[in-house]
């Protein structure tokens, strides 16, 4: 017979046993690094010789053209790429949600398939497809869309376009699945009533579908934004980059904040303090943009 301790205590003690291993690991490999990183962002110096520098790193941010380029690139990517991708995903999902559509399952599987490929693998495959005389330029020329090859790999503008195209390919199906799941939870009779009431298709989409999908749209926007802000694998693998020199794309055109942090830490003479400062720029952006998106979503209610 167990010791007659209070039942409530008995269950609680057990509760902690379940949670403690995970919390311990998170404390060591998550919380401690977060704090250490914050502390480092006030340190300057090269390599392991560091000393307190106050706000020196923040001053350095304002004077560092490479950082500003990386920041501009990163923001550019999510400002342009996220809306394109989510619109495409939503549009595809709404079309696929038609119960009378044939081959819907097959098409859905096909569009979702890119999610199976690792970021590095799809990056190198895209790289092989977008070389000057490669399959993409040849196909575009064959349909008469271009007269000469597009310099995807050597022109800063086209390198950025390539990156956006690639990310959109990889993640549209992923987001579409969320919309499809949400659409399937909508009561069909809502649409049937609207049709009987004579509400036109576009109004059904903007007045019924979009408002009902709002939580999912918010979710996909936040996750896509966080993902794009952390862009690394693609930026380092799609466009021919001189990895030994640490550049990313022609004229650093696809240099993102994450690539820059990596370069600052592991490519050049390590500048841990400054790299940590740049990493906190991503944290602030993530927090800020998530906050803005949540606020916007709430105001529209």
């Amino acid at each position: 017979m167990p010791a007659p301790i209070s039942l409530r205590r008995y269950y609680d003690v057990n509760g902690w046993f379940f949670v403690v291993p995970a919390l311990g690991l998170i404390a060591v490999f998550m919380i401690y690094p977060i704090i250490w990183s914050l502390w480092m962002s006030f340190q300057t110096g090269r390599g392991l010789v560091m000393h307190f520098g106050g706000l020196a790193n923040i001053v350095r941010l304002t004077e560092d053209p490479v950082f500003q380029l990386a920041l501009t690139n990163t923001i550019l990517f999510f400002v342009i790429q996220v809306p394109i991708m989510l619109t495409l995903a939503l549009f595809t999902a709404v079309l696929l949600d038609d119960p009378k559509l044939k081959f819907a399952g097959l098409i859905r599987t096909a569009i979702f398939l890119p999610c199976v490929m690792s970021l590095v693998v799809y990056s190198v495959i895209f790289k092989s497809m977008f070389v000057d005389d490669g399959v993409v330029n040849r196909a575009l020329a064959a349909v008469g869309a271009i007269s000469g090859p597009i310099p995807w790999m050597s022109d800063p503008f086209w390198a950025r376009v390539l990156l956006i195209v690639a990310i959109t390919w990889r993640w549209t199906g992923y987001n579409m699945i969320f919309y499809l799941a949400a659409l399937q939870n909508i009561d069909r009779s809502i649409y049937e009533v609207a049709r009987i009431d004579g509400v036109p298709a576009t109004a059904r989409f903007f007045r019924l579908t979009v408002p009902m999908l709002k939580p999912v749209i918010l979710f996909t926007t936040v996750t896509s934004t966080i993902g794009t802000l952390q862009l690394f694998d693609e930026a380092r693998n799609i466009v021919a980059s001189d990895t030994s020199a640490g550049t990313a794309g022609p004229g650093d055109s696809v240099l993102t904040l994450s690539v820059y942090i990596y370069n600052l830490t592991f490519r050049f003479m390590p500048s841990f303090g400054y790299a940590a400062t740049v990493s906190y720029v991503i944290v602030i952006l993530v927090a800020l943009l998530s906050f803005v998106q949540f606020t916007v979503a709430r105001e529209r209610d």
């Binding site: 017979m1 167990p2 007659p4 039942l7």
Partner: protein, 369 residues
């Protein structure tokens, strides 16, 4: 088989008091039913007995032993849940023998017990199936079998029949009653269905808002409700409860004026206690207490007639007041819209205070008067 005693048992979640000083003596072998509307605390009370919730204050004694801080599995009880709580990945036999395995019984003993329970419950052909392949009634039997094999001193049932359809519910109700007679194990049974309570219980505990309203045998509660709540809760269709005002007839005899039936006057029996004029009370009269030769009579208009074959329920009213239910055995001729003359014997009335307490008197509440 064990007796079970609750002494001043209370339960609070934070500042909210769910159960207030519950006292109950369950005799060994007795079948006790907790009944009450949802949220009355009946399930919580059962979970306190099971040890799934901690008792805030008071004492739980099973078989003469204080059980407040004893682990659920050491209280000598078995519990049947509303959702049956069968493990989906185990066969019927594994589900039934599961607890015994953890009690360290030899597998031959487990097998024997499972087989004998399966025999009692007619589950032998299903032993190798999984719960998914069973009907609701079969799952319910497995859940009961799982409780039986533990050979508990007390059975606990938490609304075991509410997930079944009506026909099956009646059938399982009879099965449970038979089982109790066969095994004779002390049983505590929770339900919100007063018919279940009436048919199964040796004694019923009526709960409301965390307090015991009345404890008694089914017929005792029916014939002798302690208050307005129990009167309204036990019985189907419900007892008719109408507000009334104490007054006097033209010749000065004490009477009740009933506003809901056109200020009808009902003279009180001679032996009635003195009630001051103008006092607001409630009268209660069961549908079957209306009869052909009572001294009180009034005319109502029929709203709806429910012909059940043997008996007929007539829902009738005067003007816009609430409907009064009348049970008749020869009501086949009644139609909606007809007038009906309703009679009853004032001695069969139940009288309640404005605050719901019963006004007891030898003059009233004689159900078979």
């Amino acid at each position: 088989m064990s007796d079970l005693k609750l002494v001043d048992v209370s339960k609070s979640f934070g500042a909210v008091e769910i159960l207030k000083k519950i006292n109950l003596d369950v005799k060994a072998g007795e079948f006790i039913v907790f009944v009450g509307p949802s949220g009355c605390g009946k399930s919580t009370l059962l979970r306190l007995i099971a040890g799934l919730e901690e008792i805030t204050a008071g004492e739980l004694v099973i078989g003469g032993k204080r059980m407040n801080d004893i682990d659920p599995s050491h209280r000598g009880l078995a519990m049947v849940f509303q959702s049956y709580a069968l493990n989906p990945h185990m066969t019927v036999a594994e589900n039934m023998g599961f607890a015994l395995k953890f009690a360290g019984l030899p597998s031959a003993e487990i097998r024997a017990r499972v087989l004998s329970a399966a025999h009692i419950l007619d589950l032998e052909p299903l032993l190798q199936r999984r719960p998914k392949a069973l009907s609701g009634g079969q799952r319910q039997r497995v859940a009961i079998g799982r409780a039986i094999v533990r050979q508990p001193k007390v059975f606990l049932f938490d609304e075991p029949l509410s997930n079944l359809d009506a026909g099956l519910r009646v059938h399982m109700r009879i099965e449970i009653a038979k089982l109790h007679r066969q095994l004779g194990v002390t049983t505590v049974y929770v339900t919100h269905d007063q018919v279940e309570a009436m048919t199964l219980a040796d004694r019923i505990v009526v709960l409301r808002a965390g307090e015991v309203e009345q404890i008694g045998s089914p017929l005792d509660l029916y014939d002798n409700p302690a208050n307005l709540f129990v009167a309204g809760f036990i019985g189907s269709p419900k007892m008719n409860l109408l507000p009334a005002i104490v007054t006097r007839t033209a010749d000065g005899r004490p009477a009740l004026r009933i506003p809901d039936i056109g200020d009808a006057l009902v003279a009180l029996p001679d032996r009635a206690p003195r009630l001051e004029d103008g006092r607001a009370v409630y009268i209660g009269i069961r549908p079957e207490q209306f009869c052909v030769d009572g001294s009180a009579e009034f005319d109502l208009a029929i709203d709806i007639v429910e012909h059940l074959g043997g008996t007929t329920f007539v829902y009738a009213r005067k003007g816009s007041s609430a409907a009064i239910v009348v049970e008749t055995r020869d009501g086949r001729a009644h139609k909606s819209g007809d007038a009906i003359a309703v009679r009853f014997d004032p001695a069969s009335l139940y009288l309640f205070d404005a605050d719901g307490g019963r006004i007891r008197s030898a003059a009233f509440g004689q159900p078979n008067a």
